[in-house]
Amino acid sequence: MRDIVAFKGKQSSLEIEIASDADFSDALKAIAERLEAKRSFFAGSACVNVVGGSLSEEQQKELETMLKRDFGMLSVDFDSANKPKSRIPRVPRLFQKEESAPVSELKSDVLSKKVGSAVFVMETVRNGQRIDFDGDIVVCGDVNFGAELVATGNIAVMGALRGKAHAGSMGDETCVVTAYRLAPQQLRIGGIIAIAPKNAQQVNYPEIARVVGDTIVIAPASRVIK
């Protein structure tokens, strides 16, 4: 028997395909069972795209409520297969340094607006260690090569950031990553991934990485905070 629902992992989201002849309540049950069985596996997915099943508006609402309430999904889209493809590049882009960007463009009012919980890590995060937090992460120390920070909010490192940092891990691209010395192996903000250009010059002042357009851009912190 063919499954009435099929799960596909996409680059930044989970796609659930409902067979066109499936009964809605059966499909709903099947989705819940599948998600329940592999809760920890799907816990990292924030966005769901539901394809097929020709659902009515109420049915869409019901499914969306279930996915959000019971499985912690952040956003649920319906039948967006025809929408333009995700703009997240498969290959990480190089992040850009924008020393000379006009100040007006750098104005970032999200910085002061974020209110939520934060965790303070009062030691150096070393190779092989990972900090996962629903909120902002502040590290009072270094983040070394091979260490990983994953925050649903912003990340601040009061030291050198040499490892990986993922801010806005649930898809919030207004988040920022800042460090006294920003020299990460890889940066992610929302769904955008960037690595350092090979000849990136290390500077001796704090910098902020944030998303401008569809690129992660790095600028001196003093300039952004103005």
């Binding site: 995060v125 070393r126 190779n127 092989g128 070394n144």
Partner: protein
């Protein structure tokens, strides 16, 4: 009551065993009672480096399995008074000794000896956990290479997570000429990344390989650079304030070549 110090690195081949042999011999030369514990079960080398390979009758696994008494397995060093070795088993593997057995063993040794030096196997698996479980302090050995420094960072994180909070660093096999040419991580870079205190620096010295092969720790030899470096580290372990040795390039001028030719004993 003595103290247990684990010598560890994460990465293999950076000089844990050589360091253990030299620090142990150096501490014993200074009049302390020292036991070296080889925790690298199945791949034992410490006995070879210290030249006691042929004298092994019982080993650490015999002790924990009750085949012999602890004092029967301890081998007295042939050169240095006050130095003993508890060899690893060669025909078994790391699972032969449990963490509880190791803890009990080391606490027994600490009653008898001032310093219990534990030679840790490479890696972060059972053998590593087994070696650090009973340690009061840790000496992390690294070489100035990116991969070794990253492994050392990982190891320091694991040590701190396992409540070994006294961690000191030895940078081994340093080559002044390569650092000057910018081809090797320098001391400051390494310390900045690892953010732990430096216990000492050991320069690259071909004498190390020779002395390991003949089973005679280089620390005994007065004139070798590595020997001096190890004696300095021993002094620092004993709480003395010894400045870091100045690293010299092998002199290459005509006069120094002559000096070297005639200066050799």
């Amino acid at each position: 009551m003595g103290e247990a110090i684990v010598i560890t690195s994460g990465k293999g081949g950076v000089g844990k065993t050589t360091t253990t042999a030299n620090l142990g011999t150096g501490l014993a030369m200074r009049g302390h009672k020292v036991v070296l514990v080889d925790a690298d079960i199945g791949l034992r080398n410490l006995d070879v480096v210290i030249g006691l390979e042929n004298r092994i009758v019982y080993d650490i696994v015999d002790v924990v399995e009750g085949n012999c008494k602890l004092k029967n397995a301890l081998i007295k060093d042939k050169r240095t008074e006050g130095l003993y070795l508890l060899p690893a088993a060669q025909t078994r593997d790391k699972t032969a000794v449990s963490n509880e057995q190791m803890t009990k063993l080391v606490s027994e040794l600490k009653e008898e000896f001032e310093y219990v030096l534990i030679d840790c196997p490479a890696g972060i698996e059972h053998g590593f956990k087994n070696a650090i479980v009973a340690a009061d302090k840790a000496i992390v050995v690294t070489v100035p290479e990116v991969s070794a420094v990253r492994d050392a960072d990982r190891i320091i994180g694991l040590l701190l997570a396992n409540e070994v909070s006294y961690v000191k660093l030895i940078i081994n096999r340093l080559r002044k000429d390569m650092i000057d040419a910018g081809n090797m991580l320098d001391i400051d870079d390494t310390l900045e990344i690892l953010s732990v205190d430096l216990l000492g620096i050991v320069p690259e010295d071909s004498e190390i390989i020779r002395s390991s092969n003949i089973g005679e720790p280089v620390v005994i030899k007065a004139e070798t650079p590595a020997g001096i470096a190890y004696r300095n580290i021993v002094a620092r372990i004993l709480g003395e304030d010894v400045p870091l040795m100045e690293l010299k390039k092998e002199p290459t001028g005509f006069l120094s070549t002559l000096k070297r030719l005639f200066g050799r004993k």
